[in-house]
C-alpha cells in the first residue's frame, strides 16, 4: 500500500508544480504590462511559496481521491489493513514530501520561512481531515480557508495566555510554541471527528455518515470561537502594548 501511496504523493507534487508556470507568466506580465520592476528572485520566491501552499492543501484534500474516483473503497476495506494503517500509508508520504519542500524553502528563500512551518501543518492536516467530510476539493479549500482565518485570532489569544503563564515573548521558541498550540487547538477536534467517522466508514454513501463528524466538529468549533472571543479584547491590547 505504501508504495502506491508514495507514487500518488509524487503525482500530486507534480500536479502542484504546474503552478510554477505562473513564474514565467508573472515575469512576462511584469516585463511587458505592469512594469513594476519586480526582481526575478522575488517572483521565484513567490512561486515557491505558492507551490508549497498549494501542495499542502491539494495533497491533504486528495488522500482518498483514488478510492472515490475508482470506487475502490469496498476493495480497500476488504484488504487485511487496519484503518490506522490505511490513514498512515496515505498521510505519511505526502507529509514527508511537504516537509522536504518546506526545508528546501529555507535554502531557496531564507531561514525566516522556517518560523511559519506550523501553518503548513495546519493546511495539510486540516485538508486531510476534511477529505471525507466534503466531496469536492473546492469545498475542502473553503474549509481550509476558514481554518487559516481562525488561526491568527487563535494565535493571538494563545500568545496572550501563554505570556500570562510565564512564557517569554518575543522569543522564536515561544512564537513557534504558540503557533503549535493554535494549530493543535484547531486540528484536534477535526482529527477526532475524522478518525471516529473513518473507523466506522461504510462503503456507501459517504455523505450520509457525517453525523459523527459534524456532531464533534460543530460544538468544538463553537467552543473554540467562544474561547477566542472571551479573551480577544485582552489579547489585542496586550499585543498592541508590546
Amino acid at each position: 500500500m505504501l508504495k502506491k501511496e508514495c507514487l500518488e504523493a509524487i503525482k500530486k507534487l507534480l500536479e502542484s508544480l504546474l503552478i510554477l508556470i505562473v513564474i514565467p507568466l508573472a515575469i512576462v506580465w511584469d516585463k511587458l504590462v505592469a512594469h513594476n520592476g519586480w526582481p526575478y528572485a522575488d517572483i521565484f520566491k513567490g512561486g515557491y511559496i505558492a507551490t508549497l501552499v498549494i501542495y499542502a492543501v491539494y495533497a491533504g484534500a486528495t488522500i482518498f481521491l483514488p478510492e472515490r474516483r475508482d470506487r475502490a473503497f469496498e476493495y480497500l476495506f476488504s484488504l487485511p489493513l487496519t484503518r490506522s494503517q490505511i490513514v498512515m500509508a496515505k498521510v505519511l508520504p505526502r507529509f514527508v514530501i511537504l516537509v522536504i519542500l518546506f526545508l528546501l524553502s529555507a535554502v531557496f528563500i531564507g531561514h525566516g520561512v522556517l518560523a511559519s512551518g506550523i501553518i503548513f501543518i495546519l493546511l495539510f492536516f486540516g485538508a486531510a481531515s476534511l477529505s471525507i467530510a466534503v466531496n469536492s476539493i473546492i469545498l475542502n479549500l473553503v474549509g481550509v480557508s476558514f481554518l487559516f482565518a481562525a488561526f491568527q485570532p487563535c494565535f493571538n489569544v494563545l500568545s496572550y495566555l501563554l505570556s500570562k503563564l510565564g512564557l517569554k515573548f518575543p522569543s522564536v521558541l515561544a512564537f513557534i510554541f504558540a503557533q503549535l498550540c493554535s494549530a493543535l487547538l484547531l486540528l484536534i477536534p477535526l482529527w477526532l471527528a475524522f478518525w471516529l467517522t473513518f473507523k466506522k466508514l461504510d462503503v456507501k454513501p459517504i455523505r450520509l455518515q457525517m453525523k459523527t463528524y459534524y456532531s464533534i466538529l460543530l460544538p468544538s468549533l463553537a467552543g473554540l470561537a467562544a474561547f477566542i472571543l472571551l479573551f480577544y479584547k485582552k489579547s489585542m491590547s496586550w499585543i498592541i502594548a508590546r
Binding site: 474516483r69 475502490a72 476493495y75 476495506f77 476488504s78 487485511p80 450520509l208
Partner: protein, 274 residues
C-alpha cells in the same frame, strides 16, 4: 467456518439486522437469497469485514490469523477495484498487500486479458475473471461472492464455475454466494438460506428443501398445509406449500409436482409480495 452472533446493523435509520445469528461450518457451500434490498449484500460485506457490526460478533477459524481478511476472498457486486490501475499494477498492489510470494496469472492469460490494459477498460466478464484470479491468489479459506455470475457471458461463466469447483477439490473452502438467479450455481450449493426482513426465513439443505417444497395442483385448497403462495386459474389453483412431509402427502387431493430451486425460492418470495 463463519459464526455470526447477535449481529445488529443499520444503514442510517433503517435497521437491517437485529440480533441476527448464523453459523456456517467449514467447507460448506451456502446460498443466501431473498428479495432485493433485504440485506444479502450487506450481510456479505459484514462477513468480509468491509462493514463493521454495530452490535454482535462475527467469528472465524482461529487459524485464519489475527486479521481474517487475509484469508477471505470477497467479490463484491460492483467488482470494486482500483480501476485506474493496469492489470500488472493491480496484481503488484494485491501481491504486496497480501504479502504473496508469487501470482498465478494463468487464468488471466487463458482469458486473454492483456497485462497493460487498465481495469476500467475491461468488459464486465473480464473484470469478473480478473477479480476472481486476485481473490484465488490469496488461497482463501472463505469465499464470498456477491451476485455477479449472471452478468457475464456463458463461456466466462463456465470458466468461473470451473475455478470454484477446482478450489473445492483442493480444500474445504467455505463458500457463501448471494444470488437471485441460480441456474448455474445450483449444483454447487449445499445449503439454502432465505432472508426476509433481516431474519432467516428458510435454512435448509438443498435436497431437503426440494423434498419439502412442492406445488399442488388442485381444485381445493389444502388448508392443512402451509401455503407460501398460490396462483389461481379458472378451474384450479396451484398451491406452493412448505413443508410437505410424507404424512401430509397422503391427505392431498390433487397432483404433487416437484420444483427446482428457482421455483422454490420464487414461491417463498412470491408470498412476500402477495
Amino acid at each position: 467456518m463463519i459464526e455470526i452472533e447477535g449481529l445488529s446493523f443499520s444503514y442510517g435509520k433503517t435497521m437491517i439486522f437485529r440480533d441476527f445469528s448464523l453459523r456456517i461450518p467449514k467447507g460448506q457451500v451456502c446460498l443466501i437469497t431473498g428479495i432485493n434490498g433485504v440485506g444479502k449484500s450487506t450481510l456479505l460485506r459484514l462477513m468480509a469485514g468491509v462493514l463493521r457490526p454495530a452490535k454482535g460478533e462475527i467469528r472465524f477459524d482461529p487459524n485464519m490469523g489475527a486479521d481474517p481478511r487475509a484469508k477471505i476472498g470477497f467479490i463484491s457486486d460492483v467488482l470494486s477495484l482500483y480501476e485506474s490501475l493496469t492489470i500488472a499494477q493491480a496484481i503488484d498492489f494485491h501481491k504486496s498487500v497480501y504479502a504473496l510470494p508469487s501470482f498465478d496469472d494463468s487464468l488471466i492469460r487463458h482469458t486473454k486479458i492483456g497485462h497493460d490494459k487498465k481495469i476500467k477498460e475491461l468488459s464486465t466478464g473480464q473484470r469478473t475473471i480478473f477479480h476472481l484470479s486476485l481473490v484465488l491468489s490469496i488461497e482463501p479459506e472463505i469465499l464470498l461472492i456477491d451476485e455477479i455470475i449472471h452478468s457475464i457471458d456463458a463461456y466466462l461463466r463456465k470458466v468461473f464455475l470451473e475455478q470454484i469447483v477446482q478450489l473445492l477439490l483442493k480444500r474445504p473452502v467455505t463458500v457463501v454466494m448471494v444470488n437471485v438467479n441460480f441456474h448455474d450455481i445450483e449444483h454447487l450449493v449445499e445449503r439454502v438460506i432465505l432472508l426476509k426482513s433481516g431474519e432467516i426465513a428458510v435454512d435448509e439443505n438443498i435436497e431437503e428443501l426440494k423434498a419439502k417444497v412442492k406445488k399442488i395442483i388442485s381444485g381445493s385448497r389444502p388448508e392443512f398445509l402451509n401455503i407460501l403462495s398460490q396462483i389461481d386459474y379458472s378451474d384450479h389453483s396451484e398451491f406452493y406449500v412448505y413443508p410437505c412431509t410424507d404424512d401430509l402427502k397422503e391427505k392431498i387431493e390433487g397432483e404433487i409436482v416437484d420444483l427446482n430451486l428457482t421455483e422454490i425460492v420464487s414461491a417463498f418470495i412470491g408470498g412476500e409480495y402477495a
